[in-house]
Structures are given as structure tokens and as C-alpha cells.
């Protein structure tokens, strides 16, 4: 695993935790360090505890671990919440002049740095900068060159003008000096900087960026955690390319607006989370039956019902796979990492249009709210191809008409894919419906045509299975007798877990599956392995059930559904336990 530093700032909602964390993350990223961030909310509902955590290394980081080295604690609660992650030698920065922290003492073995954050901030120009003073203190502890903060402060406050950036920069230095003068620290974190230039973004942003890159011009949505950021990202950006973002009155409206835009020929998307998917399900069937290409992003959160809205879960797999009455052809694609959120979004749009079939893009909270650094080349716009499938124009529409010159939007073709005519195309006017229909789109209950249309729609999926690449992403030792399989966002934690496992001489082959339907047939891989473990964030093992069904076998399961994503070290232990390997007690 990378030589990492784990840092956090925690306090109450309203303490500016997020923006302070982001400033530090950006400073690290600008200094050529890799960063992976996560946000914490208390599992118990009292007060408004919130924390922003950063894992940083010169190597790539794609997960969180169960360890905290430096903690800026604005409240006692912050320390309590993180007790299990703190260890001997952990540094806790706090303001002993704050009433709530005046009796605070760092737990045995840990280093408490009592820094008068508020007083120093006032000296620099205002109490509001106390978190920045703490950042300066953290720079001193981690030996991170403080100049790197300045650029980040400029990015955050530059637009506000005046002396704001300068004052903040001064505040940070006050924190740094205070620690330098009052504490004799002998830690060797020495956060190196490099010449690399990284970008820092979260999964929702990557989805929005992927959508715009893929030519999506119409987005309709209704706010819901943790999908709202997709909408907020696209707002103000897609307009620059001639598109629009519409906040609908509810999810029923959102998906129907997106459907209308798609019928008009736009690449369209809506994004929501579980409760919104529930509402959209009736229209989902219409989209499939009318053969309309549409991407529906589900940023999963903990359910059922309102569940735990700010918590991680991969509980909607069955819903996306089976939701809706009747038998609905569909694709379900699940990005496995933040950068894959970009690539799979592009892919989802191409699949939707090539096969005129709705696509569920299944992300989750862990991807949505975490930020990660990447070399910008990882989002190579030149590599993006837009394939609109079988679209006809004024000239070619005539290839698809019957003897009465009527266009056939549901023509029975060998590959199942029919021609598409956008409104405005001369001679292409046609009707489409959720009713069973003939080739012209007209309602029918003819038994023969019914079977032909059902078969045709299913044939599109078959064509896609044959023509597209549905392979899993493979990591680790291909010859290992231990096979771990996971889907969606667990990839990062599992990849890093493998490094922990390697240290203990446990070898594994890891298949990270981004396609739920269609999905790769892993029968052979499973047959080759002695032990098969399926890792997922839900209680009933929805993906494991599919794997068992596909390969006619039984697998071991590692499930997590307490609302917190897998952490790399924790997952390594879970895998060891599943393999009956000895597990040492963690810190």
C-alpha cells in the first residue's frame, strides 16, 4: 500500500469543515501528491458531527483506511467519533481556549497540540479563519511546505478580492509558527511534493463531465442526495455547449422530460437515487418499449424507504435489474471507480443509442462524495467516440418505409435494432407508444406481432452481448486459487486490500465487474478457483446471488451494510477471515 498520511478535520455542520478539507486536498494535489478524500457523518443522529478526511501519498490512492494520523478536532465529539482510527503517535490539533475543548486531554500515547486557533485567527484578521490556522498547524506537523496552501487559498477566495487571500495565508503561517515555537515535534511525515499535475474530482462530477463529453445536452432531475451533485455540476456547464439542465417538479416529471428530449433526438439523462428510481419505474418500461435511448443514473444510498440518505449501500441492484412490471430489456452498468464514472457514462450513452434501450448507470454514495486525484490524461477527450447508432436523415429515411411510404420505427431487423428518425426529419413522422405495437408503432394485440416485437427487443440485447466488450477488470495473481469478485465502487478498497494481503502472503485474483446486465460469464474463472468470495455493500448478497445462479455454484460472501464503505485494511481482514487465514487484531 502507498506510504500514506491520513488526515482529517472534524466538527459540527456549519464549522466550514468541507471547505477547509477541500482547501487542504487541493493544496496537496497542486503539490503533486495523490489524494483520496471521504466525508463522514455520524451514524447516530445527534448534533451535526461532520468530518472531511484525506488520505495522501505520492503513489495513487483509491480508498480509505482505518487509520488517522493527524486530526483537527473542533469538538470533543470529533475525537470520540474517530477513536477507533486514532493510534499511538496520532496528532490531535485542538483549541484549548474553546469552551468545549478546555478540559480536553489527548488520549494516552497520542500527541495533543493545543493551538489557540481562534485567537491567532483574530490576530490575522478575523476569527472566521480559525480553520486555516489549523491547516497551517497541520502543515508544520506533516512537514508539508506551506506555500502550497497559498495557491489553494487563491482558488477558493481569489474571486472575493481584497485582502482575503493574504489574510488567510497569514493565518496559516500563524498556526505553523505557533506549533514550531511551542512544540518540539519529532515526527517524520515529510510530505514530499512532486512535479506532477493532478486533477481532483468526485464521482458525481466525473459522471456529469462524462455526460457532456458524450454529447448529453439535456438533463432533467429532482434534487436527492447523493445524486444532486451531478445536476449541480452540469448546471452552468452543459449550457456552454447548447444544452439545458431542468429542475423538474418530481422524478416522474424528470424522467418524462428526459424521455421527451430523447425522442426529440437529444442525448438525455436524469440522475437520482433509490426513492427516485422507484418513482421512475413505470416510465422506465415505456422507455424500453418505445425503444428510446436514455441514461438513468442511480447514485445509490442506503435504503429501503428513506433509509440512511447520507450513507453508502449497493442495495438497488435487484431493483435496477428487475424493477418494473412485465419483462423489460435494459442495460445496467456500474462504474468501479471515480475515473470509471467518466468512462462508463460515455459508454452508457453509446449503448443507449446503439441499442435504443434504457441504461441504468449504477454509481453509489462512496463514489459520489469521494474525491480522488488523477493525471488529467485519464480523462482523454480525444479518445471519446460518440456512436449514435442507426439514425436516418431526410435522404435515408426512404430505406425504411413500407409500400405506403410510412416510416417503420420498430422495423423487425436481424440485429433487433430499428432505424431512428428525429422529429424534423422529412417523411419520418411516426408514433411510438408503451402499448405493444407493430413496425409502424401502432398499437396491436396481434399474437404473432406481439411475439415478434418482444423477440426483436430482446434480440437487441443479444446483439449487444455479442458485439460489445463486457469483460471484468482484472487485478492480482491470475493463477491464484483465491478468487475475489466485486461490483461497482468496491474496486478501490479491494485493490489496496490486496497489497495488505500480499504482505501476509495471501494471494488473490480479483475481478472487478462493471457490468451487471449483461454481465461477464465467470463460470470458468470460478471453476478454476478453490475459494470464491463476492464482496458487496448490501446485506443479502444480491450480486453473489447472480454469480451463484450464473455459475451453478456456491460462493462465500463479504457483505457490509452498516452505511460505511469498505476500508482497505478492514477488507483485507475480512478476506483473510473468509479464507480461514489468521487475522490480527487491528489498532
Amino acid at each position: 500500500m502507498p506510504e500514506d498520511l491520513n488526515w482529517a478535520i472534524g466538527g459540527e455542520a456549519g464549522d466550514g469543515i468541507d471547505s477547509t478539507g477541500k482547501i487542504f486536498a487541493q493544496a496537496l494535489s497542486r503539490a503533486g501528491r495523490h489524494v483520496f478524500t471521504s466525508k463522514d457523518f455520524a451514524s447516530r443522529i445527534r448534533g451535526g458531527y461532520t468530518a472531511y478526511k484525506i488520505r495522501t501519498s505520492v503513489d495513487r490512492v483509491e480508498s480509505v483506511v482505518d487509520r488517522l494520523d493527524i486530526l483537527i478536532a473542533l469538538t470533543q465529539r470529533t475525537v470520540e467519533e474517530n477513536m477507533s482510527e486514532l493510534h499511538e503517535g496520532s496528532v490531535i490539533i485542538y483549541d484549548g481556549e474553546r469552551t468545549t475543548m478546555k478540559d480536553f486531554e489527548a488520549p494516552e500515547g497520542m500527541i495533543g497540540l493545543n493551538v489557540p486557533l481562534r485567537r491567532l485567527a483574530e490576530e490575522a484578521g478575523g476569527a472566521i479563519m480559525q480553520n486555516i490556522v489549523a491547516l497551517g498547524a497541520a502543515c508544520e506537523v506533516s512537514e508539508f511546505p506551506i506555500e502550497n496552501l497559498d495557491e489553494s487559498l487563491e482558488k477558493r477566495f481569489g474571486a472575493k478580492g481584497g485582502s482575503i487571500v493574504e489574510n488567510n495565508s497569514k493565518a496559516a503561517r500563524k498556526g505553523q509558527e505557533y506549533v514550531r515555537e511551542n512544540y518540539d515535534l519529532d515526527l517524520d511525515y515529510e510530505l514530499e511534493t512532486t512535479d506532477e499535475d493532478y486533477v481532483l474530482l468526485n464521482g458525481d462530477e466525473a459522471i456529469g463531465m462524462g455526460a457532456i463529453a458524450a454529447g448529453c445536452r439535456f438533463y432533467a432531475g429532482y434534487p436527492i442526495t447523493p445524486a444532486t451533485n451531478v445536476m449541480e455540476y452540469m448546471t452552468g456547464r452543459v449550457e456552454q455547449f447548447g444544452g439545458a439542465v431542468i429542475q423538474a417538479e418530481d422524478e416522474l416529471s424528470a424522467i418524462n422530460m428526459a424521455l421527451g428530449a430523447a425522442r426529440a433526438g437529444a442525448r438525455a439523462m436524469t440522475a437520482t437515487s433509490g426513492p427516485g428510481i422507484d418513482l421512475m419505474t413505470e416510465t422506465f418500461g415505456l422507455i424500453a418499449t418505445s425503444e428510446t435511448p436514455l441514461v438513468i443514473t442511480n447514485v445509490m444510498r442506503s435504503g429501503p424507504s428513506t433509509g440512511m440518505p447520507t450513507k453508502q449501500e449497493q442495495g438497488d441492484l435487484n431493483q435496477m435489474l428487475y424493477g418494473g412490471h412485465g419483462e423489460i430489456p435494459r442495460f445496467v452498468v456500474a462504474p468501479t471507480s471515480i475515473s470509471e464514472c467518466f468512462h462508463k457514462t460515455v459508454e452508457a450513452f453509446n449503448l443507449a443509442e446503439k441499442y435504443q434501450t434504457p441504461v441504468y448507470l449504477a454509481a453509489d454514495l462512496a463514489l459520489a462524495v469521494s474525491e480522488q486525484t488523477f493525471p488529467p490524461e485519464e480523462f482523454d477527450m480525444d479518445a471519446v467516440e460518440i456512436d449514435r447508432g442507426k439514425v436516418v436523415d431526410d435522404e435515408t429515411v426512404g430505406d425504411w418505409v413500407n409500400d405506403k411510404q410510412q416510416f417503420k420505427p420498430h422495423a423487425l431487423t436481424e440485429d433487433g435494432v430499428s432505424p431512428r428518425a428525429f422529429p424534423g426529419t422529412k417523411g419520418g413522422a411516426h408514433m411510438s407508444t408503451g402499448l405493444e405495437h407493430d413496425e409502424l408503432g401502432r398499437r396491436t394485440e396481434d399474437t404473432d406481432m406481439r411475439v415478434k416485437q418482444v423477440d426483436k427487443r430482446n434480440r437487441k440485447v443479444q446483439t449487444a452481448i455479442e458485439n460489445e466488450d463486457w469483460s471484468p477488470r482484472e487485478f492480482g495473481d491470475a493463477d491464484s486459487e483465491n478468487l475475489v469478485i466485486s461490483w461497482g465502487s468496491n474496486e478501490g478498497a479491494m485493490r489496496e486490500a490486496m497489497e495488505f494481503l500480499e504482505e501476509d502472503d495471501v494471494s488473490v485474483r480479483f475481478l472487478s465487474v462493471p457490468y451487471i446486465f449483461p454481465r461477464p460469464d465467470l463460470t470458468e474463472e470460478i471453476a478454476k478457483a478453490d475459494e470464491v468470495i463476492v464482496v458487496e455493500c448490501n446485506a443479502t448478497g444480491q450480486f453473489a446471488n447472480l454469480i451463484e445462479h450464473d455459475a451453478l455454484t456456491r460462493v462465500k460472501r463479504v457483505n457490509k451494510y452498516n452505511g460505511v464503505r469498505f476500508k482497505a485494511d478492514e477488507l483485507a481482514n475480512e478476506i483473510k477471515a473468509a479464507l480461514d487465514e489468521p487475522v490480527e487484531a487491528t489498532a
Partner: protein, 287 residues
Amino acid sequence: MSSDVRFTDFKSDKQPTWCPGCGDFGTMNGMMKALAETGNNPDNTFLVAGIGCSGKIGTYMHAYALHGVHGRALPVGIGAKLANPNLEVMVAGGDGDGFSIGAGHFVHAVRRNVDMTYVVMDNRIYGLTKGQASPTSREDFETSTTPDGPMQAPVNPHALALAAGGTFIAQSFSSDAMRHVEIIKEAIEHPGFAFVNCYSPCVTFNDVDTYDYFRDSLVDLKETDHDPTDKDAAKDVIFDTEKEYQGVIYKNEASVPFEDRWGISEDMSKIESKPPEGAMDLVREFY
């Protein structure tokens, strides 16, 4: 205006299965005439139909059309219009579709004021499901599910529209063909969301709100001194539940469609096979 388009161009070759005498025939014919006479043709027209007897209009008319799910026709129309503002968008459905299951969308479509026309084929009954109370049914209207009448005030769709900031609110009657066409034409030409409630009698399940009833009771606003640009006068008409009216009840001449206010003007179907120029800036933003 292209004079070579005839209203029959908007007719599909599918024979309607509406009951003989159903009001929906007249409503649809008027819509087709109005579309043709305002210079539209089937290839630039996008028609969205709700679910109900009325919703079958999507099959009987010839245009780019979508027959959606029950109650959600308006959002589909909005999406299509915003994705390609060059299209003439018309949405049609029943009173149950529009004011019961789709009532939320109605209010918000009115507020949004996207340039489109919404025709509610109002028969004050559920036709397709064979005669249950609709939101516009009279309080004492006995049906299979309301043996003593709904005992609830009927929805006043015009009042809803006015309260939601409607910019064009009208009422027509399917059997007064000339006036119906005139009103729909005015609706099509209105820049913004034009709502036309059209009495379209159900001859099979509603023996109260019949052709005779409407013929006898309708007051044509055109023959009165009603000024549709006067909101207070519109209010008086809308809340006068003693009478039935036809004509343009309210029209806001200062209406600016949503898409103009938002600067939405492009045909979004036109994209290149590569990401748009400047897409790499989106990545750089994350430095």
C-alpha cells in the same frame, strides 16, 4: 405559412375506435385543422398523448408522436420542446390524465410557460376504464365508484391555471368546430404555454354533460364584451360556476416563453461524433 399542407395530412390511416359520436372526434379534427392552418406539417410536429380514450389521439393523428404513461404527457412535451425549440409541440389527454394523476405536472407546466399547446379533452368522466368519476365530475354525479356522487368539489382547471400564472387559458367545445379551430389556432400562436380545455362529451358513460347540455348552456365569450387580457374579468368568468363558457378566457400578451427566458434555442439532436470543442477545459477546471 405553407399552404400545401392539408389537415388530412395530419390524419393517420388508422380508423379511430372511439364510440360513434364521441366528442374526441371533433376535438381531434379541430386540432389537425388548426395545425395545418398555422403552417405546420407532420414532420415538424411533436404530439404527446396521455392515457385514456382521449390518449388514442396519438394513433389517429399523423405526426411525430409519443403515447406515454398515464398522467405524464406534459413533461414529455416539455422535454421535446426544450431539446428542439423548432418543433411544434402539442399535448393532448383526458381530464383524469391531466387533473388527477397528472395534476402536479399541470400546475408546473403552466408555471414553466414553455411554448406549447395543451388540449384537455374534458368529458367529466373516465372513459377508458368505463365510467368512473373524474376530477371534473359534478359533485352529485353517480358512477360505479361513486354511487352517491363524488361529494367533492370538482377541479376548476382554469382557476388552477390562472393561480399558477397561466398565460393562455381557454375553453372550447368539440362540436362547435369553427370556434374550436379558431381557439386552438390562437393557442398554437401564443408564445408560451397555451391551455385549452375542450368539452368533448362521452356519449357512452356521461348522460349529464352531454352535447345538448353544452349546446344549451355555453356562452361564447366572443359574443360578450369580455376582454381576455383583463385578468380580473378572467377571474369573474372562471369563478362563475353557474354558467359554461367558451372562448379565450385569459391571455397575457407580455408572455415570454421559458425557453426564451432561459436562452434555450438549439436543436440538441445535432452533436458531433466527438466531444465538443473545449471539452478538455472541463478537465482542467479540476486542477
